[in-house]
């Protein structure tokens, strides 16, 4: 039971440090412990000043994303045993500004989410008294995958394009737009196209594909973006061929 494992954790206090440094901690090594449990152990027993975000510990709230040995991971779903005998390097999500220790700044991401208008847009609302919009399981299936995003931002931390160009809307925001575009109840595709078809929208993506690989919820944002590009290109050529028909 005396087995331990070493964690190398990024520390940064903006009031005192010029740049982040790394601090080592020895924590108990247990088969059922995830990286987050080790961080909680540190906070409870070794150093209460370690800051990081977490809540659900079941991979659904999306708050515990960090870099573990250089890979973006949900720390509540990443076992220590995967990295035994250690050490395990825990750093804040890459490409985001670091506020403190393992905390990153995410208002940019939130603004991007909002910018793609992720809500049902309709010309005419159906009154509640007329019941639900019918939607077959097949229609549901067309967008379901893109609705599974927990906003954990691992995909941003994996996407070099976001790292190089902070204006890039990024994988999760575009996947979310596509989620609504493909929803049979929605009529806002055109409105969103105007936003996403700008340079910082879909065209910034060069299909690195890392976003999809690291996504813990199998959202496939890379697929969403390429599908969106295809649609945008089709629309473009269509309106070229039939300029009078285009609205």
């Amino acid at each position: 039971m005396a087995e331990t494992i070493k964690l190398e954790v990024t520390r940064y206090a903006p009031e005192r440090h010029q740049a982040p440094t790394s601090q080592s901690f020895e924590v108990p090594y247990r088969k059922d412990w995830v990286v987050l449990d080790a961080l909680n152990y540190i906070k409870d027993n070794l150093d209460g000043s370690l800051s990081y975000r977490w809540s659900c510990r079941m991979g659904i709230c999306g708050s515990c994303g960090m870099m573990v040995n250089g890979e973006p991971k949900l720390t509540c779903a990443t076992f220590l045993s995967k990295y035994a005998p250690g050490p395990v390097r825990v750093e804040p999500l890459r490409y985001f500004p670091v506020v403190r220790d393992l905390i990153i700044e995410m208002t940019d991401f939130m603004a991007k989410l909002r910018s793609v208008k992720p809500w049902i847009i309709r010309e005419e609302e159906k009154p509640l008294s007329e019941g639900e919009y019918l939607q077959t399981p097949e229609q549901l299936d067309t967008y379901k995958q893109f609705s599974m995003c927990i906003n954990c931002m691992l995909c941003y931390a994996a996407c070099p394009v976001y790292g190089l160009d902070p204006l890039f809307s990024g994988p999760a925001a575009i996947a979310l737009a596509q989620r609504y575009n493909l929803d049979s109840r929605d009529q806002g595709a055109e409105e969103r196209m105007g936003i996403l078809s700008q340079h910082a929208g879909i065209w910034g993506c060069t299909f690195v594909g890392e976003c999809t690989r690291v996504c813990p919820k199998h959202v496939d944002p890379a697929g969403a973006i390429q599908q969106y590009k295809l649609t945008a290109a089709k629309e473009w050529f269509k309106s070229l061929l039939m300029p009078w028909g285009a609205k």
Binding site: G48, M58, I60, R100, M106, W119, L128, I150
Partner: protein, 590 residues
């Protein structure tokens, strides 16, 4: 000090808070409404609800059926006018969510699909695969983005309600990112801060569920109602508290003690049969399963694990194929978050705290007795859950009463003048308190984690599945002691930037108050009803206790209790006899 002001301020960005915000924005778009939340709204705990949301939509089902299931499930402690309003409005609320884009699961013809859920006589649980709460919360959150009138304070932590003139006029909050402490004034405040599972050591609840709102209201002078009713779920993973659904048992999983013996047969729960039989053995009602666990533990027949006693849930005999097709999520949870493969290994499980029936006392419009203060969601007790919540009633409750509270608060705010200035000095006092007590304090040596663990253990031992006068008295004494030690806690972290130790300290203070309210309420109720089981008073006592407990906090920190009659409209209290339909209704949902 900076101050900002709003017409309506909503504390909490979970299902209830977001629904309330939209309600305010729709009732009166000129009102200035803000949502303040200690985590980004889509991180709120509503996100982890799996099972579903109940509302009558299919033919063959009636509102009365839903009401009856709810009331009998709640052991007749529900206010029946509230339940009637609830079942009436639940369908339209869920439909509205459908119109906002919630990806509800569908029948092949495109209509909403519903499924059966524990305690419901009819199939009426709407679901979005096994991620209902997740989809509801994200749909709500994304929909609020459309309303420019809704301002948000993300990652702001409320430490105090500002009350003056017997009216709630705002809050003091910490901007976690910067450590700035400031007042936010409002003409009406709605509490939507969720439950308090973290008061107990083993819980399905997330790290953020610390009963903040209950303590805020309690300290401000509002009464808490029915706090003794804490719901347990029999099969949670130890340590993480992750929920293993009833389905694992419905498919034929066994509950085994340390000798590999199906111990439930010793507790009047039937005899082992080759195939699972409804309402017998592993499929008995949840509270009975929890109680059997305690008895087994007392007999020393549970397994000692690193995180306390457990029993085993065994699904190995079902085979990999069945597990993969019928219980994929169970396997995924075990593999991904506990490093256990149920195909090959026994799953350690134990009863875990799941839901708080009690909360801030409100009427059916979400108004608390304190003017200007409203509450909705798990933090509130409108009294539709009574002594025991029915599974899948909580999610629709967030919507129905979130919306009601939003409308009521909007109306109230429209009639109020700006808040008065006296509260600002209160706000300055609170700022000084937080700074002096935590950030700038010298001396003291108690660690937050130590106090928290002692509190959780005291709650489990004293106010757990079974309570007695002496166990409760012991817990009360321990909580007193912890309250006295609390002022000497010391923080390692004195930074102003994202100081999560500071918020944990304030949360610990909240939890101690809430724990006290639970214990005191449980002491007062000398009967057994629903989730409140007293071994020294094993009988339900309608004569004395067909009433809600109210608990108040006095200015000196002591408490006093009171009772409020239960509103009965059409369903007179019935007997709950095991094996009767009423008993089936007792099985609670996930």
């Amino acid at each position: 000090m900076d101050i900002s002001s709003h017409d309506v301020l909503i504390i909490g960005g979970g299902g209830a808070g977001l629904r309330a915000a939209i309600a305010v924005a729709e009732v009166n778009p000129r009102l200035n409404v803000a949502v303040i939340s200690k985590v980004y709204p889509m991180r709120s705990h509503t996100v982890s609800a799996e099972g579903g949301a109940a509302a009558v939509i299919k033919t063959g089902d009636t509102l009365d059926d839903h009401a009856y299931d709810t009331i009998s499930g709640g052991d007749w402690l529900c206010d029946q006018d509230a339940v009637e309003a609830f079942v009436q409005e639940a369908p339209e609320e869920l439909l509205r969510l459908e119109h906002w884009g919630c990806p509800w699961s569908r029948d092949p013809d495109g209509h909403i699909a519903v499924r059966a859920f524990g305690g419901m006589k009819k199939e009426r649980t709407w679901f979005a695969a096994d991620k209902t709460g997740f989809h509801m919360l994200h749909t709500l959150f994304q929909t609020t983005l459309k309303y420019t009138a809704i301002a948000r304070y993300d990652e702001w932590f409320v430490t105090k309600l500002l009350v003056d003139d017997n009216r709630v006029q705002g809050v003091v909050a910490i901007e976690i990112m910067s450590g700035k402490i400031q007042a936010i004034t409002a003409k009406a405040v709605i509490l939507c801060t969720g439950g308090c599972g973290r008061v107990f050591p083993f819980t399905t609840n997330a790290n953020i569920k610390n009963g903040d709102g209950m303590a805020l209201a309690y300290r401000a002078g509002a009464p808490l109602k029915d706090m003794e009713f804490v719901q347990y779920h029999p099969t949670g993973l130890p340590f993480t508290g992750i929920l293993i659904t009833e389905a694992a048992r419905a498919e034929g999983g066994y509950m085994l003690n340390k000798d590999g013996y199906r111990y439930l047969q010793d507790y009047n729960l039937g005899t082992p049969q080759p195939k699972p039989v409804l309402r017998s053995m592993e499929l008995g009602p949840r509270d009975r399963l929890c109680q059997a666990f305690v008895k087994e533990m007392e007999k020393g027949r549970t397994i000692k694990g690193p995180y306390g006693d457990v029993v085993h849930l065994d699904v190995r005999h079902l085979g990999e194929k069945l597990i993969n097709t019928k219980l994929p999520f169970v396997r995924e949870l075990c593999l991904k978050y506990q490093n256990i493969d149920p195909v090959k290994e026994l799953i350690p499980v134990r009863p875990v705290v799941h839901y708080m029936m009690g909360g801030v006392s409100t009427n059916i419009h979400g108004a608390t007795p304190l003017a200007g203060l409203y509450a909705a969601g798990e933090v509130a007790c409108v009294s539709i859950n009574g002594a025991n919540r029915l599974g899948s009633n909580s999610l629709p409750e967030l919507l129905v009463f979130g919306a009601r509270a939003g409308r009521a608060a909007a109306e109230f705010a429209s009639t109020q003048k700006e808040s008065n200035g006296i509260i600002l000095s209160q706000a300055l006092d609170e700022t000084k308190r937080v700074e002096a007590q935590f950030l700038e304090k010298t001396g003291g040596r108690e660690r937050i984690a130590t106090l928290r663990e002692e509190m959780q253990k005291a709650m489990e031992n004293g106010a757990g599945i079974y309570r007695t006068h002496s166990s409760l008295a012991e817990a009360a004494a321990k909580l007193r002691e912890l309250q006295e030690r609390f002022p000497s806690i010391t923080l390692d972290d004195r930074s102003r930037t994202f100081n999560t130790e500071l918020t944990a300290a304030v949360e610990l203070g909240f939890m101690l108050d809430v724990g006290e309210a639970i214990v005191q309420s449980a002491l007062h109720r000398t009967e057994s009803r629903g989730a409140h089981q007293r071994t020294d008073y094993p009988k339900r006592d309608d004569e004395k206790f067909l009433a809600h407990t109210l608990i108040y906090r006095n200015a000196d920190g002591s408490t006093h209790g009171d009772y409020l009659p239960v509103t009965i409209t059409r369903w007179p209290p019935g007997e709950r006899v095991y094996g009767q339909p009423a008993q089936a209704a007792q099985a609670k949902g996930g």
